[in-house]
Every structure is written in structure tokens, then in C-alpha cells.
């Protein structure tokens, strides 16, 4: 028989499970089919996203005509099969009871001290299908405990039931096969090699999928019990992957975060940053508004600070708004409106990082207002994937997992860049070698074979780093129109894609509407209930905006979520802020900016507000507040109060803002294509750099175990350069401002580039070198 689904014929088989007749697609496993009709078969090793191994034997069922019980998790249904589970078969019931008794032979009775207690599949299934008591009278096996498989993950081997979920995850999903089943028989145990920890950005997932308490995390160990916790679904704020997470909190403190199943986005997984980096939510928060009086910041009441800020902004000259990448879509939209309506300026940018005019043009032409052009699911069936200025494992780890899934299904990946990374290796990617900063050359000079293979089923992923490589984005744009390949832009920060669509960048109104287009202006003016003529003209972005602030032509500033050390010209911004007439900062933690601001408003973090993030696909990922009782205001709330202090009405309600933004449907009018930008790669050795997933980022503070899993800070050079430098143990890289000396790592790097982590301990590129990606540096063997 066949079912027709999405015009696609699917072969099916007719089976009977516990007397219930079913028709299921061919290839369905017994355990999956039983789930569909609400029959729960016990299981430990079975996981829908991992290959079946039938390692734990807990799911034994009876099949008519088969003499012995069979594992339901590995048994594929075939036509006419009559399956009987523990509900209708004595054989299955006894078999399951026997397996459970065996599994419990070596399992310690330490549930009171075990973190899994209360949410443990072994506890639950021992109660439902196990025997009431054990006949085992010997000594249980014990191991020294716990041992670290890496700095964050702890292993209690005596609790393990050898289901191999963790080892299969490590190998199949993450591609980090450094967690394995060692020894044999009664001594079988999960472990790592002697001197090689389980080095993975996804290690936290093994804690979540462990069906017993064998794998636990150092950060959650003994912190609480499941019944203490309130669980709320959230969206991860750490990157643009847009993972659904579950935040568990106890009495106003987040105790842990877990991956939430979202088949369209993160499936069942999350990266370690998303899972473990949440201490910043509580630590070191700004608690009340601060105003500067006689050069010193002092606490002030909200009304006092509002009036102070309103008067300051009104008195100052031309103003600008800088929104960092942490804003939710609604908050970014509020900034976008606040700048245009209240401050009457279009000097606005959300890109608190290296950016370019070329990038702004690229975003307007290809990204803004274009939702779900390319999705995660598309990756699985793409023909070719091209990665340009993008390191998925570090910059969008869940996208990296999906790429791996695609690669297993035959997708071929090409990466254009200066370094063939560990991540590229795990994707079996083909390396298009490019000197850092001259990606444009590499793209225009791509092999005709690769270009020929690109079609409308191919995807070009461009990272935010491409902005630092002159000409790269226009080359991508040309390649896209030449081959029909779809282009997806993957920023690093969670708020950037949403801020773009909310119009938090000069030249673009919400929905990707060009501010210079009369139709676009009138559409927005209507939605905002203002006169189209009162909308400002195109303002400044990026570097130009920072220069204008420094030179004083822009003298008032509203700034939120910006860390000057993320900007290539951060020093200029700090100088500008020091000279500015008035600076309003909206922040949750103190920074270089708040230290110099005229007034500081504390704002809510993700657990205290509702909102949404838009991930790289353009998918809206709404979330609600975990702490509903929190009194902190959102950025939009503060801006609304500030606006009303300046006699302008601006709705600050998240839901109303979302509704209004959604009413501004994406722009369908004409878009200007990217200009052909001049390509100029600096001569000599150039700097290749990006942020590692686990690094010195401010949102990762306060979690030492996570920090200890970071990859070491090294200087990566090619074998040829290593020889040329005289095989030094350490290498010194020098830029205009200073130098960095780090241990050498010989890797597959372009001979004309040298790679350093961008913001890791001992390697803060902008602060220490004073230059950025693709710029000339000098390289020397040995210390400075």
C-alpha cells in the first residue's frame, strides 16, 4: 500500500501491535510505531536521532512466529507482522522484567545523592516494568568516582547501564569520537583515552540524553531536584542559531538550561555555551538608574533619571543610536522607532563589530525582510554548500550539526577561507584556500567545477566576518545571481538578524524598506502614525558613524549592548563618548560605556522579559519571561518612558510592538543590488581570526567549568611558514598597537595568513593588536 504525502508516494506496511491494526511507512521501527498508538515500551539506548544499537535490551517484545523476544528499538516492521508488547505478551513482560533485574544488578542504590533522581528513566522504568525486589546478593561493581570526561562533564561509571547513547552522540552527531565504551564484559565502562578529554562543543548533550545519572555536569551537580524546579521554554540568546531551550529555575535563580526539542531548528541538541553560560544573568547586574553628577555616577530614581535623560537628549545636537547584538526583535524595533520618531535621526546601527558599507548594501539587497529563504531542513537536501567567512562550529554550532547531518546524506561542503579548521575536517569539507582579506579573489576565481555544480538547490552561507574582507560580499552577490544558488547570511549574535528586519540600521526601515523609497516611507509613516516627511533621511552606519561620534558632529548617543572592545575602532568610540554632550546607556552589566555615560538605565535580561529572537533563517523564535515577577523594564519599556518624558508617545509593550512590526509585511518593492566594491587585499601576511565558541565573551562569565573546556589560545600557521620562522615554539604576531605571543600550532593555514583566536584569554585582537581580520600583521618566531 502507499500513502500520498506532499505529492510523494510513501510505501507502507500493515501491522498489528497489541491487537491494534496499523498502517505505517516502510522501515518504521516497532518502538516508533507503538509510540504512535500510545503504547510505551521501556527503553534506555533508544533515541530517535541516534542509530539503533539494541544495547540495553530493555525493549524486548514478542513477534508472532519468532521464537525469542526481539528488541523493539531495532526491529523494523514488515508486512503482516503481529507484535505483542508487555501489555499483551507474557513472554515480553517476563523478558523486560529480567533485563531490568540484570541492569539493576550493578546499579548502585544511591538515588538520594544522584542528580538524576526524580527524573530518571531507570527509576521510572524499574518501578513500572521491574521486579519489586532483587535476587542479586553479590557485591556490586564500584569505580572511583566521579571522573571528569572533560572540565564540565562528570562520569559516575557504576551508574552506567552501557546504553551507548553518549558514545553514539559523540561520534554520530557531534563528530567528536573521544568518548568510547572501554573494556569488556562486567568491566565495560564509558571513558576517554588517557590523555585526551572529551573535547567537544556539544558535550552537555550527553548529560541530557543519559538515561541514568552516570553523566552529570559540574555546574548542576547537587544543585537541586526536579520537583524544585520551574521549567520554562526559552530561546537561546547566545547566537543566531535560535535554539529552543528549557530554562529551569529555583526561587529566582536559574539552575540549569537544557535543549528543548525543536525539530525544525535544534532538533534535540544545544551547544555547551547555550547550555552552561547563564551565570551572567544574575551576577553583577546594574540595579537602579544611574545619573552623572559632578563627574560621578550616582543612583537615582526612575523619574529623576528619565527627566535627566530627556532634558539631556533634547538639549544635545545631532544624535545617534547604537544597538548591540543582544536586543530582541521587539527591543530593536523600539530603538528603530525611537531613533526615527523621537530623536529624528537615521544614524543607527546594530553591528557592534567589524562592518562595512558593502555589508549594509548586501544586507539590504539579500537579507532584510527575507524570511525562511533558506532553512535548516534545506541543508539536509542541498546539493552543494559553500561557506564563506564562516566557521559554523564556532559561530553557529547548531547549524554545524545540521551541516554534518547533511554531509552524511551526501551534501558536499566547500569552505572558502584562510584556515582548514577542525570543524571543516568534521564536515569533510573541500578547502578553497584564501588569504584572509582576499576572499573576493578566491570567490571570483572558484573552480569552474564548483561553480558549475552550484544550482538553485545549493546554499551559500556567508558569515559576519565577510564584512571585513573587502569585495567578498559583492562577489557572493554576483555568484548567487550567476548560479541561482541561494544566499544565507549567518550573523554570530542572536539579535542581529532581528535588528536588521526591525530596521535598526541606517538606510533601512522595518521589513527591509529602503528609507530613500517614497512608498516605503509612507507605509512606515502610516504604521507609525506620523507624517512621512518627518522621517529622517539616510544616516550614517558603522565606521562612519563611530568617526562622526568621535569628531563630535554627532554629539548625543543612545547606546545599548555595545562593548567597545568588539569594535575595530573601539578606542574612537570611547573617545567620542567622552567628548559627547550626552550619552544614554541601557545596560544590564557595567561596561566601558556605562563608566562614561551621562545616564544609565538598567534593563531586563532574557529571563526577565518576553520577546523574540529572529534566527539566521529569519524564523521568529518567541519566548516568554521566566521570572514573571521581575520588575526590570525591557529596553522598549525604558525607551517608551523616555519618549513620553520627551513628549512623544511610543508604545513599549512587547506584544504591541510585535504586532505592529508584523503588520509591516516584508518589503516587496525594488531593492538596490550590491555595488561592485573595490577589492584590495593588503600585501604581506594577513591576520585570520574569529571568535571561538567558548572564549572571553562577557555572557560566559561566572562559569569556570565551561571556560575550562575552551580550546587553547594558539597561533596557527602553515607548515611552510613554520619552517620559514625556524620552527619556533611560540610565535609573536604584531599589529599597529602591539603584539601577542602564543604557542605555535602547525595547521592547514594559507601561507599568507596567520590565525589567532579573536577574543580568548591571552588573545584580544582589537585591544592588543589594534587591527582586525584580513589586515596586515608581522609574524616573528619566539617571544616579542
Amino acid at each position: 500500500m502507499t500513502i500520498v504525502n506532499h505529492n510523494e508516494k510513501i510505501d507502507t506496511v500493515n501491522v498489528v501491535i497489541d491487537g491494534i491494526e496499523m498502517e505505517v511507512p516502510k522501515g518504521t521501527l516497532v518502538i516508533r510505531a507503538a509510540e504512535q498508538i500510545g503504547i510505551e515500551i521501556p527503553r534506555f539506548c533508544d533515541h530517535p536521532l541516534l542509530t539503533p544499537v539494541a544495547a540495553c535490551r530493555a525493549c524486548l517484545i514478542e513477534i508472532d512466529g519468532v521464537p525469542k523476544p526481539q528488541p523493539a528499538c531495532a526491529q523494523v516492521l514488515s508486512e503482516g507482522m503481529n507484535v505483542r508488547t508487555q501489555r499483551s505478551s507474557e513472554m515480553a513482560r517476563i523478558a523486560q522484567e529480567g533485563v531490568m533485574e540484570f541492569l539493576l544488578v550493578n546499579h548502585p542504590l544511591d538515588c538520594p545523592v544522584c542528580d538524576k533522581g526524580g527524573e530518571c528513566p531507570l527509576q521510572n522504568q524499574a518501578m513500572t516494568v521491574g521486579r519489586p525486589d532483587s535476587r542479586f546478593e553479590g557485591e556490586k561493581r564500584t569505580f572511583p568516582k566521579p571522573i571528569n570526561v572533560n572540565a564540565e562533564i562528570l562520569l559516575d561509571r557504576e551508574r552506567c547501564v552501557s546504553c551507548a547513547r553518549c558514545t553514539r552522540f559523540a561520534e554520530e552527531i557531534a563528530g567528536d569520537a573521544s568518548l568510547e565504551l572501554l573494556e569488556r564484559g562486567a568491566q565495560q565502562q564509558v571513558g576517554t583515552a588517557n590523555d585526551e578529554p572529551f573535547d567537544s562543543y556539544f558535550s552537555g548533550n550527553v548529560v541530557q540524553i543519559c538515561p541514568v545519572g552516570a553523566l552529570t555536569s559540574a555546574s548542576y551537580r547537587f544543585r537541586s531536584r526536579p520537583f524544585d524546579l520551574v521549567s520554562v521554554p526559552t530561546t537561546c540568546e547566545h547566537c543566531a542559531s535560535g535554539c529552543s531551550l528549557r530554562t529551569d529555575y529555583r526561587r529566582g535563580t536559574v539552575t540549569r538550561r537544557l535543549a528543548w526539542d525543536d525539530p525544525e531548528v535544534n532538533e534535540d541538541w544545544s551547544c555547551d555555551k547555550g547550555r552552561f553560560a547563564f551565570a551572567y544573568l544574575a551576577n553583577g547586574r546594574i540595579e537602579s538608574p544611574l545619573i552623572r553628577e559632578n563627574g560621578e555616577l550616582r543612583s537615582a530614581s526612575w523619574p529623576e533619571a528619565m527627566h535627566f535623560a530627556a532634558a539631556g537628549l533634547a538639549a544635545a545636537g545631532t544624535s545617534a543610536v547604537l544597538v548591540g547584538g543582544r536586543a530582541t526583535v521587539e527591543d530593536a524595533y523600539a530603538y528603530s522607532k525611537f531613533a526615527r520618531i523621537v530623536l529624528g535621526t537615521d544614524n543607527l546601527d546594530f553591528r557592534a563589530r567589524a562592518s562595512s558599507t558593502e555589508e549594509a548594501e548586501f544586507l539590504a539587497a539579500h537579507v532584510a525582510g527575507r524570511k525562511l529563504d533558506v532553512t535548516y531542513t534545506d541543508i539536509e537536501t542541498a546539493s552543494q554548500v559553500l561557506l564563506i567567512g564562516f566557521e559554523p562550529e564556532d559561530e553557529s554550532p547548531i547549524l554545524f550539526l545540521r551541516l554534518r547531518k547533511g554531509v552524511k546524506r551526501g551534501v558536499s561542503v566547500h569552505t572558502v577561507g584562510p584556515l582548514y579548521s577542525l570543524g571543516s575536517e568534521k564536515l569533510s569539507a573541500h578547502w578553497v584556500k584564501a588569504k584572509a582579506g582576499s576572499e573576493a579573489h578566491a570567490i571570483s576565481g572558484l573552480d569552474s567545477e564548483i561553480v558549475g555544480a552550484l544550482d538553485s538547490n545549493s546554499i551559500i552561507f556567508v558569515g559576519e566576518r565577510a564584512a571585513a574582507s573587502p569585495g567578498a560580499l559583492s562577489a557572493v552577490s554576483r555568484l548567487g545571481s550567476q548560479t541561482g544558488a541561494r544566499i544565507a547570511w549567518v550573523p554570530r549574535r542572536a539579535g542581529e538578524r532581528g535588528a536588521l528586519d526591525a530596521g535598526a540600521i541606517a538606510g533601512l526601515l522595518p521589513g527591509g524598506r529602503p528609507i530613500s523609497d517614497p512608498t516605503a516611507r509612507s507605509e512606515v509613516a502610516q504604521a507609525w502614525n506620523i507624517d512621512a516627511d518627518s522621517l529622517p533621511n539616510v544616516g550614517l552606519t558603522g565606521t562612519e558613524l563611530v568617526t562622526a561620534i568621535k569628531q563630535g558632529s554627532t554629539s548625543a548617543l543612545v547606546i545599548a549592548g555595545v562593548d567597545p572592545s568588539d569594535l575595530p575602532n573601539g578606542d574612537e568610540l570611547i573617545a567620542g563618548i567622552e567628548n559627547a554632550d550626552f550619552v544614554v546607556a541601557l545596560e544590564n552589566h557595567h561596561s566601558e560605556i556605562t563608566q562614561r555615560a551621562s545616564v544609565v538605565f538598567p534593563v531586563a535580561v532574557v529571563t526577565e522579559k518576553s520577546g523574540s529572537f529572529m534566527n539566521w533563517e529569519g524564523r521568529s523564535k518567541p519566548f516568554s519571561a521566566a521570572f514573571r515577577e521581575a520588575l526590570t523594564l525591557t529596553d522598549a519599556g525604558v525607551l517608551s518612558m523616555l519618549a513620553s518624558a520627551m513628549n512623544v508617545q511610543l508604545n513599549g509593550d512587547t506584544r504591541a510592538l510585535r504586532k505592529e512590526l508584523n503588520s509591516l509585511v516584508p518589503w516587496s518593492g525594488p531593492r538596490t543590488d550590491v555595488n561592485n566594491h573595490e577589492v584590495h587585499a593588503p600585501a604581506g601576511t594577513t591576520l585570520a581570526t574569529w571568535r571561538l565558541l567558548i572564549d572571553s565573551g562577557v555572557m560566559q562569565e561566572g562559569e569556570p567549568h565551561l571556560a575550562a573546556t575552551a580550546r587553547p589560545s594558539v597561533v596557527a600557521v602553515s607548515a611552510a611558514m613554520f619552517e620559514q620562522l625556524g620552527k619556533p615554539e611560540v610565535i609573536t604576531v604584531t599589529g599597529p598597537k602591539g603584539s601577542i605571543t602564543l604557542p605555535t600550532q602547525v595547521a592547514e593555514v594559507s601561507n599568507e595568513s596567520v590565525w589567532l583566536p579573536m577574543n580568548s584569554p591571552e588573545s584580544h585582537i582589537y585591544a592588543q593588536l589594534g587591527c582586525g581580520y584580513g589586515q596586515a600583521v608581522t609574524v616573528k618566531g619566539g617571544a616579542a
Binding site: A177, L179, E180, L182, R184, T192, A193, N194, D195, E196
Partner: protein
């Protein structure tokens, strides 16, 4: 230390298989041939040559009991204690040998020159009880003959397998196991009348 010449041998082994990973078992024997045990360094070398993780190599090296994780010494002594050998005196042989060596199961002798192990069936039940020295057969041993063999080995005297080549040492055997380039398999009487007796009876149809 794993020398460059060992690594060349490893690469040669890896080249013998369509999937290089298949060479892991002989490569681990090669590590034992070089280092008398599977060392962390040897595991790292195998991992590096096969481009797999050290954990994957460790998983294999700890699964199979022929890989040892501390120095074996000069000779490996195995005594079969499975049903037939055990009944015909294997257990007694094991006890005497253990006493002579001052060793326990899967551990070194007191002087560190021998390694004792209770082994499972070697498919040599016709000559039970069986002892192996560096995996060569010593057929029809008695507690006394077994100890004699060990005394001779300890004294550095020449000892021959009852049906194979002269005993060399553990590391030499491991090298043979890694890459059998010698003709040791052809030395001695691999098959004798006793072993074929059952087959002959079966063929003659006497059992029917």
C-alpha cells in the same frame, strides 16, 4: 618510544586494507612488539596514523584481552582452564605455575620476567591440558612438565613448542602476530594422528 621505523611499519599495515582502520589490531600487536605492552604513546601513534581518536583506539585495546596495559616481561604463559583442559589437570597445572611464578591471573611474575594468564579454549583439546608459551603450544602438560618448561625458560635454555617452532620471546611473537613475514607456521607437526582420530572414525561411519 615509537620510532619512525615502527610508524613506517604501521603505515604499511594500514595500506594492506581497503579501510585503513582495519589495520588497528595488527598495529596494536606491533606496539606490543616494540614496547612489551600497549602504552599510551602507542595508542596515540595508532590514532595518529589512522586519523581516529585515541578513545577509539583505547576502546579496541581494552576490549581484547591479548593487549596488555603493563609490561608483560620476557614470556607470556597461558594455561587453559576451560572444561576439558581443566578436568584433565589444567587447574592443577595453573596452580603449580602460579606458585612457581608468584603471579596471579593476568599479572606479572614476581621477577617481572613472565606474565601468567588463565586462557580460554585454544581448540587443542586432543592434547589437553594445554599450556601456551608466547602463544605457542605446549601439549599434554603436567604440573611438573609445565614448571620444567618455565625453569628452562628462566635459565635461558632452548625450549621448543611440542608442535611448533622454538620459543623466542613475547615481543618477537607479537611482531609475528602484527606482520607474519616469517615461515614459523611451517615448523613442526601441526597435525598428528591423535588429532585426526575422531575425524577418521566419523568418516568410517563407525558411529552410525
Amino acid at each position: 618510544m615509537i620510532t619512525e621505523s615502527t610508524r613506517i611499519k604501521m603505515r604499511e599495515l594500514a595500506g594492506r586494507y581497503p579501510n585503513p582502520r582495519s589495520a588497528l589490531l595488527p598495529m596494536l600487536h606491533l606496539v606490543q612488539a616494540e614496547q612489551d605492552e600497549v602504552t599510551t604513546e602507542g595508542i596515540a601513534a595508532c590514532a595518529q596514523e589512522l586519523e581516529i581518536t585515541q578513545a577509539e583506539v583505547t576502546a579496541v585495546a581494552t576490549f581484547y584481552t591479548m593487549y596488555k596495559h603493563s609490561p608483560v616481561g620476557k614470556h607470556h604463559i597461558g594455561v587453559c582452564i576451560n572444561t576439558l583442559c581443566g578436568l584433565l589437570g589444567g587447574d592443577a597445572v595453573y596452580d603449580r605455575v602460579a606458585e612457581r611464578l608468584g603471579a596471579t591471573h593476568n599479572g606479572p611474575s614476581a621477577d617481572g620476567n613472565f606474565w601468567l594468564e588463565r586462557i580460554e579454549c585454544q581448540a587443542a583439546c586432543t592434547h589437553a591440558p594445554v599450556m601456551t608459551v608466547d602463544w605457542e603450544f605446549m601439549d599434554d602438560v603436567t604440573p611438573q612438565s609445565a614448571v620444567d618448561v618455565i625453569d628452562k625458560l628462566a635459565a635461558g635454555e632452548e625450549v621448543w613448542s611440542t608442535r611448533g617452532p622454538m620459543i623466542r620471546d613475547f615481543q618477537a611473537t607479537e611482531h609475528t602476530l602484527a606482520m607474519a613475514e616469517d615461515d614459523l607456521a611451517t615448523i613442526g607437526n601441526c597435525v598428528d594422528e591423535k588429532m585426526l582420530a575422531g575425524l577418521k572414525i566419523a568418516k568410517s561411519g563407525a558411529q552410525q
